[in-house]
Amino acid sequence: MNPVVEKVAGWREQGKKAAMATVVQVERSGPLGAGTSMAVSEDGEVVGSVSGGCVEPAVFEEAMETIETGRPKLLTYGISDEEAFGVGLTCGGTLHIFVERVDW
């Protein structure tokens, strides 16, 4: 059983809002494949992951915002630029992640 879907179904059953973030494309080297997902509930609970831990904090913030606004977004994360304090991947790949509120 898919733990992310299981958890999201549980939250929605309890009437909680939730957002899902799904990897839709991986360019070059990346730890997890397309279809990998993480979900966030309105009270900040997290299940699953979308990378090796590099971008999860940023995706969490984006997901919390999407829970509020309901607006889906397609995010792209590339190699990290330490000097720019940018959020990024240390593996050198590029991740495309779709974030959406679960109201379907």
Partner: protein, 266 residues
């Protein structure tokens, strides 16, 4: 809970095939369809786009593929206006372990860990018991070759022949070679391996077919215990699927991760 989430959740629980298609860029971003081999739930901005995506999703579901597809606003091909992410959720792949020995227990356990639906099969009822193989989904008492003839096998299927007795191995491997299984491994010492190959050639198996069999089974990591051997076998199964060498990352350059496969999620 919405209808799509509800149906998705249920399909995964029942291990029924299901695909999700989501518009991730372009008009109608966020629109979603749930697609099964028989029907679909949800709708997209245009009828024709919906029809094109449902058709694509069924094709991808059949092949267990996940990835992005592009369309025009009315579902036209070779246009880029609408980007749709289609994700297949296929039932877990199967692992068949033949020979109810200690090694089989460890292989069944690591098979479960990797997400396989594991069946252990042996002709000897005193060894092939659920108590001895608590991690297996299914323990079957049957002649291995007879059992495999009737078993469900596809390209994701893994077959581990651990009997290392030519009496069982030879007919079983002949049946295995007639399937499209992605991995066929056979356990045995060098001597067993050589004798088994001779017998298989006598029985009309070609040299080309013999190369499909990972024998002796497993990567060369110096495994001794059943658990270590199971790790060697599991690592070989993964390396063959991804086309990697199985050597040490520390001793080679280049990307670490396998190139993205369009494989199904679970």
């Amino acid at each position: 809970m919405g209808e799509i989430l509800n149906r998705w959740h249920r399909a995964l629980r029942e291990q029924a095939p299901v695909a999700l298609a989501t518009v991730v860029r372009g008009p109608g971003v966020g629109d979603k369809l749930l697609v099964t081999p028989e029907e679909h739930v949800g709708s997209l901005a245009s009828r024709d786009l919906e029809r094109a995506v449902v058709e694509a999703a069924r094709g991808m579901l059949e092949g267990g593929r996940t990835g992005l597809r592009h369309y025009g606003p009315e579902g036209q091909r070779r246009m880029e206006d609408v980007e749709v992410f289609i994700q297949s959720f296929a039932p877990p792949p199967r692992m068949y372990v033949f020979g109810a020995i200690d090694f089989a227990g460890a292989v069944a356990r690591i098979g479960k860990f990797l997400g396989y639906r594991v069946t252990v099969c042996d002709a000897r009822g005193i060894f092939a018991t659920k108590e001895r193989f608590p991690f297996a989904d299914e323990v079957v008492v049957a002649w291995p070759d007879e059992f495999l003839k009737e078993a469900e096998v596809d390209r994701r299927t893994v077959i581990c022949v651990l009997t290392h007795d030519p009496k069982f191995d030879v007919p079983l491997l002949k049946v295995a070679l007639g399937t499209e299984a992605g991995y066929i491994g056979a356990m045995g010492s060098r001597r067993t391996h050589n004798r088994r190959n001779e017998r298989l050639l006598e029985e009309g198996v070609t040299e080309e077919d013999l190369k499909r069999i990972s024998s002796p089974i497993g990567l060369d990591i110096g495994a001794r215990t059943p658990e270590e051997t199971a790790v060697a076998i599991a690592a070989e199964i993964i390396a063959l699927r991804t086309g990697h060498s199985g050597g040490r990352l520390a001793e080679r350059d280049g990307p670490i991760h396998a190139p993205p496969e369009e494989t199904a999620s679970r």
